[in-house]
């Protein structure tokens, strides 16, 4: 399941693409000179840093990834409106809770992505991962029902992530 360097001379292809795009973003340009320079850097930097990375599960569904990202973005906006209301509203109506989310997803990167998503979206902050990687401890700003919260997260975020990483 773990991605092995598929090409010796291009150890991290996704990274390289990301870096290439980033370079163009940084320079606000698609001028030929920067295309060349960006390509060079996108190739060279992974060459240098590949030694310093843990092997991670590969992305299998790029399209799904994009869709997931957009969904999260939407959730962030709505989550924030909710949080704003909660923060500015009466505080005694908040019912914070600490919850242990059982994990089905495996692998460092997927778990990290899930944790990050959880932190960015409705009223929850991921606080700790158990050593066995089976539980994600979550703090909720306000929670009505624990089971519902867990189910939502698993349904809305964990499942697509598992699909993306095919695990």
């Amino acid at each position: 399941m773990l991605a092995k360097p598929r090409f010796r001379w291009l150890p991290m292809p996704y990274h390289s693409i990301l870096l290439f795009v980033t370079w163009l973003l940084l320079n606000n340009t698609v001028a030929p000179g920067h295309l060349v320079l960006g390509a060079f850097l996108a190739w060279g930097i992974p060459m240098l840093t590949s030694g310093l990375s843990h092997p991670q599960p590969a992305l299998h569904k790029p399209i799904k990834t994009l869709r997931y990202a957009l969904m999260v973005l939407g959730d962030i906006v709505t989550a924030n409106l909710e949080v704003a209301r909660q923060v500015l509203g009466p505080l005694d109506q908040l019912h914070p809770a600490l919850v242990a989310l059982p994990l089905d997803i495996e692998g460092d990167l997927p778990i990290t992505l899930l944790a990050s998503t959880v932190s960015l979206t409705p009223g929850t902050v991921s606080s700790e991962v158990s050593q066995c990687r089976k539980f994600l401890y979550i703090h909720a700003l306000t929670m009505k029902d624990e089971a519902e919260l867990i189910a939502t997260i698993k349904q809305r975020y964990e499942k697509p992530l598992m699909e993306i990483f095919s695990c």
Binding site: L18, W23, L26, L41, I45, T112, R133
Partner: protein, 931 residues
């Protein structure tokens, strides 16, 4: 030019004993004597010319800046002294051959002696004041070595140190005096000085100059009150005493007075000071000598007394008195040298110098006794001996002078008194040692010394007799030429005959003889009388004085230097405050004429945040973690301020440095206590706040004053030339890599050295680590949180890309090698934080030490590269190129320079932080076990 050889030969002779020591004692003595003998011969060849009244001068340039030539001058006075130095010196060499025991290092002794002889000759032959002083001080040093020759004896060490201190102090005064004379006259040339006596005497600085010169002379010649060192110099081997205290060292002071007689003498001040000093010394020496039980002690005080006599004569200011003084110099040298040598023989043969034990030696060593008795008689002033003649002249002069006005009669009376004691102690020397019953348990059974040990005494005693009987024939010429030199012109008539008729001087002599015998006869009563006074040992007093000084110094030092950095810093800040506040008090306009920027609420709020955070840092400084957080806020606001005031480069740099610094401080905090105890008293806090506020206020005022003043600046040059001259549009960066690239080069060097130094510090560091945090909670076991690990990993390539971006655009836009380097370093540090040293180590195999060297070298080589084009170091080059499709781009040597900066920054930062991290990795398990 042959004049040079006279001092030079003994100087070279220093080496002779060192190399000939191994060939036996006699060979060593002969080898040593060769140089002075030759010098003496050369001196004698000059005698006719000198006696004709000529002054021989030989000089070469040496230190023009000091007005110092190497210049020697031989006139009558110099001739007389050189003769004594060389002549008696040769006798001493012979004498010492037998005196020194086989345990003593003869080579060393002779070498010191030659050094001393050179110095003495240098003094008497100098024609330049500074040169004279040079040799003068050399006598102090070499006599120190000679006096302390038996340095395993406390006596020798302390005596030598005392002599050195006193004569050294006098020497320093003399130097000041001589320079003063030189300033008055405008030259250090003795010839010129002696010709300008009136100029000197009329100068307003004359009293000071005279005082300083006399201080030198009096200390050297053991004049009251500086006489105390001389008796303790008797710890030296007797040949040394015989040499130093008869003809040389102590006579140097006398010589000085005689030498400067034409320039300094003749004023009322001179007469009073010199006369009174001489008189006091004469009396004190003569009186004290009688009570000394040590044979050499008696001779020492007698020497002091005779030196006083000569000083008195030179002080009286009449020409004939001066002549008498010079005559007595000769006579004293001869009889005192022989007496010392005799005393040395007695000491050598009996093992003691205590006159209470030494009795009746006549039976054991009649030959030596005879010689000693003749010399002692001369010392007492017995007719037909040379001592009598000069003493007669002395008496005659005391009767003629009017030095003390209506009290002038006291001088002949006191002189007679001194002569009485002089007769008494001479008598004691003869009677108490050679007669007066049987010796009392001597360590050795005395007998005559080796034959040749007596030869020097025989020669000198012979001279005493010859001069005493045929004065004019033997020393007439010598005395005349010396007097000619001292008086600096015509010599008045004087008679060198044994019989001057029955006059008052003769009466004084007879009275002295008679009363001297009477006093000696009744000595026991006198001894008893004297014993009721506590004897003050000058050495003890001196030592106590020195101890007192040392203890005082220690106390002063401990008072000021209490080892407290806070005090040192306080003084530093005080100085800053005083220096900067004083001119500010005089400043009329605080604000200048430059219009100020308008204020706005956002800036005010940011300033408030800055001020509050800074103050909070101070208030919470005992809780170190919090102060670190507030400090970060200060840094953040400063960065924003830089951005606000049009300095994006500075903002970037400040930000990145800030983060690295905070990481560093946190690393340190782990090994340091996490809290600061309360130690300062409220008054201390108030004091510190006061000085801090003062400095802060002054700096703020200065800052305001400068900012509001319009001024001139060279900065337009950089704006104008940044693009055409440096090839970049970011003027700040062009200054850094081009206009002032040298500064930047130095800066990365500093960074590199700091990293090396820190590595050095870390290398042997012993650290203690807390097993829990500030509230005693244990640390978590999760050393590398998974999520942090995962994300940091992905951030690394991104950060590297950003740093490449910052690096490449630096020349034209905010950025550059330094910032890029810090970004890279921070990104890698993040990896260290997230993954730990053990994980990174095998994956990142960079030798940071090499990388630092290579980084700096890249910059340096880029700079040196311009030499190929015959341009100075760090001259930059750039050009624009065109490639199809890609378009125009620029290549500049500054990029290579900046690359060096980048590499150095990365390597230095990582060398510091990564190694600091490593420090604990190996120890960590033990800490965990402890829980």
């Amino acid at each position: 030019m042959s004049l040079f050889w006279i001092p030079l030969l003994p100087a070279l002779g220093v080496l002779a004993p060192i190399f000939s020591d191994r060939f036996g004692r006699t060979s060593c003595a002969f080898a040593t004597a060769a140089a002075p003998a030759l010098a003496l011969l050369m001196l004698l060849f000059k005698a006719p010319a000198v006696f004709r009244g000529e002054t021989l001068i030989a000089s070469v340039e040496w230190v023009p800046a000091l007005g110092m030539q190497l210049s020697f001058r031989l006139d009558g006075l110099a001739f007389l002294f050189a003769l004594l130095i060389l002549g008696i010196g040769l006798l001493i060499i012979l004498y010492a051959r037998y005196y020194l025991s086989s345990k003593d290092s003869m080579g060393k002794f002779y070498a010191y002696l030659m050094l001393f002889m050179t110095a003495m000759l240098g003094i008497v032959l100098s024609n330049n004041l500074i040169q004279l002083w040079m040799f003068w001080e050399m006598t102090s040093i070499s006599s120190f070595l000679l006096i302390s020759f038996w340095h395993n004896k406390t006596e020798g060490r302390k005596g030598a140190r005392m002599a050195l201190t006193v004569t050294g102090a006098g020497g320093l005064a003399l130097l000041a005096g001589l320079i003063l004379i030189g300033k008055i006259v405008g030259s250090y040339d003795l010839e010129v000085v002696l010709q300008n006596g009136d100029l000197i005497r009329n100068s307003s600085l004359y009293p000071v100059a005279l005082g300083l010169v006399l201080l030198g002379a009096f200390t050297k010649s053991a004049q009251f009150p500086f006489h105390f060192w001389l008796p303790h110099a008797m710890a030296a081997p007797t040949p040394v005493s015989a040499y130093l205290h008869s003809a040389t060292m102590v006579k140097a002071g006398i010589f000085l007075m005689a030498r400067f007689y034409p320039a300094l003498a003749g004023t009322e001040l001179w007469v009073i000071v010199v006369t009174l000093t001489g008189l006091a010394t004469l009396l004190l020496g003569a009186y004290t000598a009688l009570f000394k039980h040590d044979l050499k002690g008696l001779l020492a005080y007698s020497t002091i007394s005779h030196l006083g006599l000569i000083t008195l004569l030179l002080g009286m200011g009449t020409e004939l008195a001066a002549i008498a003084g010079i005559f007595h110099i000769i006579n004293h040298a001869t009889f005192k040298a022989s007496l010392f040598m005799a005393a040395g023989i007695i000491d050598h043969e009996t093992g003691t110098r205590d006159m209470r034990r030494l009795n009746g030696l006549w039976k054991f060593m009649p030959h030596t006794a005879t010689l000693a008795m003749v010399a002692a008689a001369s010392m007492a002033g017995v007719p037909l001996l040379n001592g009598f003649l000069s003493k007669e002249m002395f008496f005659a002069e005391t009767l003629l002078q009017h030095t003390l006005g209506s009290l002038s009669w006291m001088i002949p009376v006191l002189a007679t008194l001194a002569a009485i004691f002089s007769v008494a102690y001479s008598l004691r020397f003869i009677h108490d040692v050679f007669f007066n019953g049987e010796p009392i348990d001597l360590p050795k059974t005395p007998h005559e010394p080796p034959r040749y040990m007596k030869v020097p005494i025989e020669i000198l005693v012979g001279l005493c007799l010859l001069v005493g009987i045929f004065p004019a024939f033997i020393v007439g010429g010598l005395l005349h030429s010396a007097s000619y030199a001292v008086l600096g012109g015509e010599v008045p008539y004087y008679s060198l005959s044994i019989w001057h008729g029955f006059n008052l001087a003769l009466v004084m002599s007879i009275v002295a003889m008679f009363l001297g015998v009477v006093i000696y006869h009744n000595r026991r009563k006198l001894f008893k009388f004297q014993s009721q006074f506590p004897e003050t040992d000058a050495k003890l007093v001196f030592e106590r004085l020195i101890q007192c000084m040392v203890r005082g110094s220690v106390r002063i030092q401990q008072f000021f230097e209490n080892g407290s950095l806070q005090r040192y810093l306080f003084l530093l800040f005080m100085m800053v405050a005083v220096f900067s506040a004083k001119p500010m008090l005089q400043l009329i306009n605080t604000a200048g004429d430059r219009p100020e920027l308008p204020l706005n609420g956002i800036a005010i709020t940011l300033a408030v945040i800055l001020i509050f955070s800074a103050v909070a840092t101070v208030i919470w400084h005992r809780q170190r973690y919090i102060s670190l957080l507030t400090l970060s806020v200060v840094g953040l606001v400063v960065s924003v301020a830089f951005a606000y005031f049009s300095a994006p480069d500075l903002a970037l740099t400040q930000l990145s440095v800030e983060v690295v610094t905070v990481i560093l401080l946190m690393l340190a905090l782990f090994f340091l206590p996490q809290q600061t105890p309360k130690e300062s008293s409220p008054s201390r806090v108030a004091r510190d706040l006061g000085i801090a506020a003062l400095i802060g206020g002054v700096f703020a005022t200065l800052n305001y004053a400068i900012m509001t003043r319009s001024g001139i600046s060279i900065s337009d040059f950089f704006i104008d030339n940044s693009k055409p001259g440096g090839g970049g549009t970011n003027a700040v960066n062009v200054i850094l890599v081009d206009f002032r690239g040298f500064d930047t080069f130095g800066e990365i060097l500093v960074l590199g050295i700091a990293a090396l130094g820190i590595f050095k510090l870390i290398n042997r560091m012993k650290v203690s680590m807390p097993s829990g945090d500030i509230k005693g909670r244990n640390w978590t076991k999760d050393s590398h949180p998974m999520i942090l690990r995962t994300v940091s990993q992905s951030l690394l390539p991104l950060a590297l890309l950003v740093s490449a971006y910052i690096f490449l655009r630096g020349h034209n836009m905010p950025g550059g090698g330094f910032i890029a380097g810090l970004i890279t370093a921070v990104a890698i540090i993040l990896q260290y934080i997230a993954h730990g040293v053990d994980w990174i180590k095998p994956r990142l195999k960079i030798n940071y030490q090499w990388a630092i060297a290579i980084g700096v070298l890249i910059s340096a080589v880029t700079g040196v590269g311009s030499w190929l084009f015959d341009r100075p170091f760090l001259t930059s080059w750039f050009d624009y190129f065109h490639l199809p499709w890609i378009g125009e781009f620029e290549l500049a040597s500054a990029i290579a320079f900046d690359l060096g900066v980048y590499i150095t920054v990365v390597a230095a930062t990582l060398l510091i932080l990564a190694n600091l991290g490593k420090l604990t990795t190996t120890h960590r398990p033990t800490v965990e076990e402890k829980r």
